[in-house]
């Protein structure tokens, strides 16, 4: 456990900051103050991953646009045209593209953030800062990809002449809910992965299950009414339903779906971070 007599990084040559280092507390604090103090690290980690991500690729960051578009084409052919899945009155291409745009980002964060502590083992063993910044930086860095994906989606909306309504202003809220949920789960998995590398092996399976329990390829109206309260425990159901409503004017998610989605996302983030904090002191010795 670490306490500081004076916060901040004032460089003054007067009374220096006192830091006390001791054994880890049995119940570690959330250390949100320290998280704030080290926030510049977050910007560095985000910048580093963005600078590196598309180096030595020909089309660069445009990959973030091309990937969801390619998947949209494949899914539209197989699920829209061949399997004729319902799409709540929307062209299937638009229907699936809205779900894919957000899912591509969330799935990527899940995979990157869950492995982030182990992947940065070199830094963990050499430099101190709150380790939560590894998954947090993955989540924030993904917003750039989301912006590119949104551009591709916007192009599709123009082609199909769909004009979003006022609900569009709620899209940032929905993105925040999605990021909170994925960050919470990723912190849990990232902390576990330090000790049990089984997590890395399970991850593709977890990603698939999460994707299929989210109404990306099919509408949530396919779920029998009696199972909906259970189905809504997945916050991504609210996110995708909400996005389709906000962008393309499908039926608005009912109040209970909102409440459940937000509550579960907040729960995942809170407990994910608390669990991460509890395991954090062991990372450098175990990773």
């Amino acid at each position: 456990m670490v306490t500081r007599a004076r916060s901040g990084r004032s460089t003054g040559s007067t009374a220096p900051v006192k830091t006390v280092i001791g054994p880890p507390a049995r119940r570690p604090s959330l250390a949100l103050g320290e998280l704030w103090r080290y926030r510049s690290i977050c910007a560095v980690l985000v910048r580093r991953s963005l600078m590196v991500r598309y180096r030595q690729t020909v089309v660069g960051a445009a990959w973030a646009m091309i990937q969801p578009l390619l998947m949209m084409v494949v899914f539209t052919i197989f699920f829209g045209i061949l399997a004729r899945i319902q799409s709540e009155g929307l062209p299937y291409a638009v229907f699936v593209m809205i779900g894919l745009t957000i899912w591509q980002v969330i799935g990527k964060v899940l995979n990157e953030a869950s492995l982030s502590v182990v992947a940065n083992g070199g830094l963990v063993k050499k430099i101190y800062f709150p380790r939560a910044y590894f998954p947090i930086a993955s989540a924030l860095g993904s917003l750039v990809d989301l912006a590119w994906g949104a551009l591709a989606l916007a192009a599709l909306l123009v082609i199909y002449q769909i004009v979003p309504g006022w609900g569009l202003i709620l899209v940032p809220v929905l993105v925040a809910i999605a990021l909170a949920a994925v960050l919470g789960i990723s912190m849990w998995l990232a902390a576990l992965n330090v000790t049990y590398r089984d997590v890395a092996q399970l991850l593709p399976f977890i990603t698939q299950v999460w994707m299929f329990t989210t109404p990306i390829l099919y509408p949530s109206t396919l779920i029998p009414t009696e199972f909906l309260p259970l189905y809504w425990l997945n916050p991504m159901v609210l996110v995708v339903d909400g996005m389709r409503w906000a962008i393309a004017g499908t039926t608005a998610p009912p109040l209970q779906e909102w409440i459940q989605g937000i509550a579960v996302a907040a729960f995942l983030l809170g407990f994910g971070y608390a669990f991460f904090r509890q395991r954090e002191p062991q990372f450098s010795d175990t990773v």
Binding site: P16, V44, M51, K126, I127, D198, Q282, D285
Partner: protein
Amino acid sequence: MTVAQAPPAVRVLGLGKRYQIGAPPGGSTVYERIGSALGQRSRAPSDPHPTIWALKDVSFDVPRGEVLGILGRNGSGKSTLMKILARITAPTEGTVEAYGRVGALLEVGTGFHPELTGRENIALSGAILGMSREDIDAVQDRIIDFSEIGRFLDTPVKYYSSGMFTRLAFSVSIYLDAEILLIDEVLAVGDAAFQVKCQERIREAVGEGRTVLFISHSMAAVTSLCDSAIVLDQGVLRFAGATSDAVDLYTQQILGM
């Protein structure tokens, strides 16, 4: 050791660090848990995960503006001590009080990314080491100058020779803005001329009122740089005091044992 009139820069009190051998500290594997749940004892019966004290009951003070040498053979606990001071690993018992920001230089090139250029890496690792944008800009020219990488500044570091890489990494770290500097064996980089330059830079840092904790196997470097020294042996503090006495004791340990 020294009777401290002014408060010390670093005060270490009863510090201990215990490691488990043969198992990750997070716990046993699922198989072992299932095994033990079934009452099965597949491994060593009484103590499946023996522990070892890498440090035990270590106490000392470092006065402000001094260089403390830390001597000891491999496995004596030097690096564990540094890791605790740098907050990379937590102690099992005891405390450290540090008066001032601690900058750790435990390994050169930490945080360097091969795809980024020398200039980009200076900015990024400066920030990772806790410097602000303005701090880095203020010392960037001196870093570049010190590292002698010249025209390769805008080349990705993956194309650097290993000598260029370590020189740049060391230069970044040695200019980091901290009141207490932890330096672990990094003086072993570069050629003799560069090492002399590094020692001069450390003296300069001390002249600016910083405190330095310094691990080295080079008795020459320790003797010329350190105001005082401690000797660690199997995790226990054997000696704390004058550098020359510490060097003598350490030399005896190596030769006599």
